[in-house]
Amino acid sequence: MYEHDVLIVGAGLAGLRAALESIEAGKNTAILSKVHPVRSHSCAAQGGINAALTDRGDDWKDHAFSTIKGSDYLADQDAVEIMCQEAGENLIELENMGVIFSRGEDGKLGTRRFGGQSVARTFFVGAITGSAMLHVLYEQTVKQNARVYEEWFVTKLIIEDGVCRGVVAMDMHTGKLEIIKAKSVILATGGAGRIFEPSTNALICTGDGLALAYDAGASLMDMEMIQYHPTGLAGNGILLSEGARGEGAYLLNSEGDRFMKVYAPEYLELASRDVVSRAEQTEIDEGRGVDGCVLLDLRHLGREKIEERLGYLQEVATEFRDIDLAEQPIQVKPTMHYIMGGIKTDSSGATDIPGLYAAGECANVSVHGGNRLGANSLLDTIVFGRRSARAAIEYISTVKSHSTSNVELKNETERIKNIVDRSNGERSATLRNEMGIAMTSGIGVYRDTASIEMAKNKISELLDRYPNTSIDNKGKVFNTDLIFNLELKYMLDVALTMCIGAEQRKESRGAHYRTDMTERDDANWLKHTHVKNENGNPKFYTSDVKITDWKPEIRKY
């Protein structure tokens, strides 16, 4: 049996940042991930990371206000204050570790402007910011000789006496299930984009941590808040960074108009993502789209700027669409990209369950509320990755080592054996595709009572069909067929909480826009929605949003 002080599940930016903090504090730390750390989906973040650096005249309060306004006042303002105040220190630390951030002429860090921000405060590495940061944090874990359970897959959290004491996980190389005991567990498993089809997310973004926490009885909060990115590629949904618009790219409709001037006269293409995605969808729905898309036009930026500052976008456009961005506009459409919702945590990353922490996209602190601003997610991962580790370290000083029962290991072994032994059932992918289509049409950019109900009914139906699925691969070694089946269950569980959140929130706020209830209702719904698993049944409740200095106002861009 394995045993650690702090076990971090997930090795993207939040997980690695948490790990470094814990290792540097001298704790027995381990990182567990179903993929090698550098394969984590943080690598796909393109545009940058926000921070208000005070030494060049920026003000964290302005960043905080932009974030809160962007969230449509659903973010907890105390948490936003922490994130924006700590941003500068965290950014400089990353630079000092080796991230090759773009510089200005004076050799200091350079910026670009991002959506929903009043000034340029986004620091970046070309259009590979996430990858460049992830690789540097990985380098630091190599330097620290970190223990990594590489290509291990968690199937269950071990909760004893109401306290999290570790996980049951499968070594994908041997197929063997093991107990990994830990005094504290930090979930940093990222998002759940594959619940939708299409999505900008990697195939590994299957909501594992969310489902594990939900199963263990933690609350999932504001799960109806699904971000549709304004510039996904039509078809498979590959992302084109907001950095393009940050550098000055236009959005055009079929008539060649910069239609954002109608929807956001001041911020234009750099309004918040929910606003831009709705504008695009309206243009498309009203017949001013191009093959169900709008056009992203970078031509006026010139080849040199495109290739130096947006090189990866040019690569994506060329490789996947045979389009040279310096010569031709490219078709884009709103594409599912991010979940603002997640495992409810306090501003230290603590969940409802003692010993269980969460950070990054799988967590909801909540700093993004109803809509996340571009380049705030990388910041979220770094700030709250670190904070969650600090809190976990403090917590374990009060925890003694416990013996752990083998019950969960036996149950999980039995459950997985059943999946492997079943035959002639439906394929996992059949159910996953039905889920993806239902969720995209039901919980889309626009939604209403009927569409939400359709999605929820579909998910309930798929949950009923899930026990009859079967897999082809009966082997032990790197059985991805089995992993997909386990992930499918995770996604279905999480999808149901999204449907419940959407069904219950009877207003329009942030990314949750109901065509049958188009107004924001602060009197009744300045509230977080929660879904919690009680004896196998989802229980819904709400809690108040924390307001500090910024009273809700009408939101205009």
């Binding site: 550098v38 000092n96 990858s131 190389h173 990866y312 994506v316 490789e319 082997g475």
Partner: protein
């Protein structure tokens, strides 16, 4: 989605399973209905999701940034998510195999342990000597933009897969790890350039590359590992790290050309290995005899070219640079 043409293609996959038939590799054909926008990865995913769930492969982002899906397609390493199926089909057929120069776990899933071990061996992290400044390091943007070219490396292993040196020499650090090393050698914030280069001129390091260009050819992210290796060679020679055979070979080559304009291969060997390095020279005897028998032994003596002055001017100009 745009309406597209569909057709059936044959995808041949090298398969292997330690639990089946003593891990013996075999090839399996799949006839797959594909659309003209499919990548190789799209086709592989279709196989494993709809036809045969036993097929094992790694993939994640689908957008050439996570580095999971390097494989050999028709014998050459490619990132399959950014490889259009139409670009590799021959008579509507294509063969997919795991990356080379690494053991196979199962099917298309390779064991990257040797890859990561070498990556870790180059101390892949920034080593500043002094305390970090209070704010960011001041650094020229050109240097950072130059480094982005190397940071584009997604560690997919395509270069290592097709490296011809690694096929015959296990301890070669290989193109990916050496490109990573260059990323720190060239970083103005790193204070250990000399120490790093001193390690890299050792056996298994930068002088083992034969400049076959495979890594440059197959790199899906234009990292140009070979160019980075050559840049480090130049740096190490500037720092007078002349001891190893690689450096001596380069120096001997230059001095022979400079003095006569013609490469005397016999002298090149003697100068590289050392005139009195009897053991090494004896080791070369079989090669010399074989060359003699094949009539390909280079002459012991060679004359100089005409117009040596022109040559000297070229060298003068180059040395000024």
């Amino acid at each position: 989605m745009v309406q597209t043409a569909k057709e059936i293609v044959q995808i041949t996959i090298r398969r292997q399973d330690p639990e089946v038939d003593n891990n013996k590799p075999y090839y399996q054909d799949y006839n797959v209905e594909v659309e003209d926008w499919f990548t190789v990865l799209d086709a592989l995913i279709k196989i494993r999701e709809q036809m045969d769930g036993t097929l094992s492969l790694r993939c994640a982002c689908r957008a050439s940034i996570c580095g999971s899906c390097a494989m050999r397609v028709n014998g050459q390493a490619k990132l399959v998510c950014k490889t259009k199926l139409t670009s590799v089909l021959k008579d509507n057929k294509v063969t997919v195999e795991p990356v080379g120069n690494m053991p196979v776990i199962t099917d298309l899933t390779a064991d990257f342990k040797p890859f990561w071990d070498k990556m870790h061996a180059v101390d892949p992290y920034l080593k500043p000597e002094e305390e970090a400044p209070e704010a960011e390091y001041i650094a020229p943007n050109e240097d950072m933009v130059h480094l982005v070219g190397v940071m584009n490396c997604i560690m997919c292993g395509a270069c290592v897969s097709d490296c011809t040196v690694l096929e015959v020499k296990d301890n070669f650090l290989g193109p990916a790890a050496l490109a990573k090393a260059y990323r720190f050698v060239a970083d103005p914030r790193d204070d250990t350039e000399t120490e790093r280069l001193e390690n890299l001129v050792e056996d298994g390091g930068i002088w083992d590359c034969t400049r076959c260009m495979q890594c440059v050819e197959v790199c899906p992210k234009d990292v140009d590992p070979m160019d980075r290796i050559m840049a480090m060679r130049a740096n190490s020679l500037k720092k007078k790290m002349n001891k190893g055979y690689g450096a001596r070979h380069a120096n001997a080559f230059t001095s022979l050309i400079k003095s006569s304009g013609i490469l005397n291969e016999t002298l090149l060997i003697l100068k590289t290995k050392g005139f009195f390095n009897i053991i090494e020279l004896i080791k070369l005897l079989p090669l010399a005899i074989a060359a003699q028998l094949a009539g390909k032994r280079p002459p012991f003596l060679s004359h100089s070219i005409k117009n040596k002055d022109k040559l000297k001017n070229i060298f003068k100009k180059l040395e000024k640079k």
